[in-house]
């Protein structure tokens, strides 16, 4: 599993301020810091406050790429902003995200095919987040079939089973694990899987502990990626360890350092 660093997001005060004052200091700082921490992608989110989503997305993409060569995950529900961002990406990017709804899938998969980018597909539709694994898997299947019809390789489709905070949506936990396992059977090669990791601990105590425990359980069930805090050293250590235990990486004494290095 790899990490999509979540920190360049207009929801954070320093990023919001940077956007307002057109000062890239915080963006440069977090781009570098997340890269050093072990992120493989950097998530870019303009935040809800930005008035001109397209312009802000373009500015964030440019400024982030000044500090880091990592590929970007463009995080927005505004597809014009994502498309504008894709034009500027130096490396094939990731689109975060599209639900299992027409015509959103049409729009997103068309631009993904054009820009050779990966896509995060959410296992939800107009009716909201499903309760059980079966419905999530059925929606994942719709994403798989749609992506396939647009010629998106399965390796570039990341299914997000949607994680809810474990203090209020506790019964979703096992359903998410079940979904992760079943998604791997939908196609061959199988689609990949991703979660918004920090959601699991929203509003709880000891968030880091919950995050990294979920991450290791996710890896055991086939989780490939997570939008998460790349600067949480203990999370990275837990991921590297889970990967060794699942025989995804060959063991060596310095496996944590090797894991961080191989992300670039």
């Amino acid at each position: 599993m790899f990490i999509i660093g979540e920190r360049i997001n207009g929801m954070f005060k320093d990023i919001a301020q940077g956007i307002r004052e057109e000062d890239p200091t915080a963006i440069h700082y977090w781009a570098k810091k997340q890269e050093e921490g072990g992120a493989r992608y950097l998530d870019i989110n303009t935040g809800p406050a930005a008035k001109d989503q397209v312009k802000v997305m373009q500015w964030l993409v440019e400024k982030t790429q000044e500090a880091s060569d990592l590929p970007l995950a463009l995080d927005s529900t505004n597809y014009d902003a994502i498309e504008a961002g894709l034009e500027l990406c130096k490396r094939p990017a990731m689109i975060n995200s599209v639900p299992a709804e027409w015509p959103k899938m049409e729009r997103v998969f068309t631009m993904a095919a054009k820009h050779n980018s990966a896509v995060i597909g959410l296992a939800m539709n107009e009716q909201g987040i499903p309760k059980d694994a079966d419905t999530r898997v059925a929606l994942a299947m719709e994403l798989v079939a749609a992506a396939d019809s647009y010629g998106i390789p399965m390796e570039d489709l990341y299914i997000d089973p949607l994680v809810l905070p474990c203090n209020v949506g506790q019964d979703h936990g096992p359903e998410v694990m079940n979904t992760l396992r079943q998604v791997k059977m939908l196609a061959d090669p199988s689609p990949r899987t991703v979660v918004g990791l920090s959601n699991i601990s929203q509003g709880t105590k000891s968030r880091e502990l919950i995050n990294r425990t979920f991450a290791t359980m996710g890896i055991a069930n086939g989780l490939d990626a997570a939008v998460a805090d790349a600067c949480d050293r203990e999370l990275i250590e837990a991921i590297a360890t889970a990967r060794v235990i699942m025989n995804l990486d060959i063991y060596c004494d310095s496996y944590v350092d090797v894991y961080i290095k191989q992300q670039k």
């Binding site: 898997v137 059925a138 299947m141 719709e142 798989v144 396939d148 059977m185 939908l186 196609a187 061959d188």
Partner: protein
């Protein structure tokens, strides 16, 4: 692995009539993948789709058998690209080329002697490849009969002229030889012949794309006992072809390539030929036709084949038999180790390097290492005693002293008790044997 939802969905009519009891074709595909319903619930699915779905559930590479009885050769039925992922199942068949213009009986007699006994294992060559060089059906037939009479082992008949092939193959059809080969020019008649005689058929294409087309034409004629030859002969191209055939069959479930593949060596220099065959053996060839026929040429190939087709999950064992290293005398020391091949060969190398001739007694621990065997209760005073007795060590040496691996020093007491031999605890690592031998047994 079963079919995935996407693979099934692509074969469905996508009409979403709901006649199957599911709201959409996609939902029906998912239910099929999960085994919750059956394909016949859909009244609109095409015959092609039914066949494609049925075939996709079959193993990725078909098992094809050449010959009859105990010596029959099975090829195909492989599932892996790399042996460390699971294992390779059916060792590459090695076929020695004989031409019908040669003294066939003499060549076959020499072929039948190509058997080897090494490190407790028995190696053989599997097949004769008889080539119709004369172009004469009668001569080819006589040669085929000579092969059938001369050896129990199966054979390949190499001839693209259907008439000559029919003459020879009909005479020896009960031996179920592989018929080589169906080509673009002769495939209809050759397929008819193979069908009639119930013999496996080799398909020779002009490159991979042509091969796939030809296989599809032949399977449409209703014959599926096939072996593939891409038609290329340059090592690098054959390596690419064999890889592509295996990969398409296993990863992409590409049905035309779901059969074992074969290769021919072409190099004139015997050294180069063996290296070329080694490449094909390593990379997925189900059968190789060799010009090489001498013992010194075949032995490295059969050894490598034995090595490659072992099960990586199972430890490799050496025979639990006492081995004399160097010019032993009744005074020579006796080293105890286990019959795990890695352990044994490390000890043997070090004992040899110590320049002190000695006996090594590998205890039968089912091929596991010293510490693992000790932990599993397989290396004990009792099992060491058994090994000494079975190898009759008391008659081989005039002393009763043995050397125990340093890591199992804890066994000294029970070993002395059970065996009545005096125990010297050796070094923990075999690398220390040199110094140890000099200190204890050097003159």
């Amino acid at each position: 692995m079963g079919l995935t939802g996407l693979e099934i969905f692509k074969q469905l009519p996508k009409t979403n009539t709901g006649d199957c009891g599911f709201p959409t074709c996609l939902a029906f595909a998912m239910a099929l993948a999960a085994g919750k319903t059956s394909l016949d619930k859909c009244p609109h699915v095409s015959e092609e789709a039914k066949e494609a779905l049925g075939a996709a559930a079959a193993p990725p590479i078909k098992l094809v058998k050449v010959g009859t009885g105990d010596h029959a050769v099975e090829m195909g039925d492989e599932t892996e690209l790399f042996r460390h992922d699971k294992r390779f199942y059916h060792p590459t068949a090695l076929a020695v080329l004989i031409e019908d213009t040669e003294d066939v009986a003499a060549r076959v007699a020499a072929f039948d002697e190509l058997e080897f006994d090494r490190v407790g294992l028995h190696f053989v060559t599997d097949m004769v490849a008889l080539q119709c060089t004369s172009g004469d059906g009668a001569k080819f037939k006589a040669a085929a009969e000579a092969v059938a009479a001369g050896t129990q082992k199966p054979f390949v008949l190499i001839c693209e002229d259907v008439a000559a092939m029919e003459t020879a193959a009909t005479a020896v059809a009960d031996k179920k030889p592989l018929l080589y080969a169906a080509t673009n020019d002769n495939y209809e008649a050759m397929t008819e012949l193979a069908k009639k005689l119930e013999c496996p058929l080799a398909v020779k294409g002009n490159g991979l794309a042509d091969l796939a087309d030809l296989v599809e034409k032949i399977t449409k004629l209703g014959y599926k006992e096939l072996v593939l030859d891409s038609g290329n002969r340059e090592t690098s191209q054959v390596l690419a072809d064999l890889t592509q055939i295996r990969r398409s069959a296993v990863r992409k479930r590409f049905r035309p390539f779901g059969y074992p593949a074969m290769a021919f060596t072409t190099k004139d220099d015997p050294m180069e030929e063996v290296v070329q065959a080694g490449v094909y053996l390593s990379k997925y060839a189900g059968m190789i036709v060799l010009k090489a026929s001498k013992k010194e040429e075949i032995l490295p190939l059969v050894s490598w084949r034995q090595n490659l087709f072992t099960d990586p999950q199972k430890p490799i064992q050496v025979e639990a038999k006492a081995v004399a290293v160097g010019d032993v005398t009744p005074d020579s020391p006796v080293y105890i180790t286990t019959n795990f091949s890695l352990t044994y060969y490390i000890v043997e190398g070090e004992v040899e390097g110590s320049k002190v001739p000695a006996w090594i007694v590998p205890v039968n621990t089912d091929g596991i290492s010293v510490l693992t065997a000790w932990a599993a209760g397989k290396l004990t005073g009792d099992s060491i005693n058994k090994a000494l007795k079975e190898n009759d060590m008391e008659s081989k040496v005039n002393h009763k002293t043995l050397v125990l691996p340093g890591y199992v020093a804890v066994l000294s007491g029970s070993t002395e008790e059970e065996t009545g031999w005096k125990v010297i605890v050796g070094p923990r690592e075999a690398a220390g044997i040199g110094k140890f031998a000099k200190d204890n047994f050097g003159k």
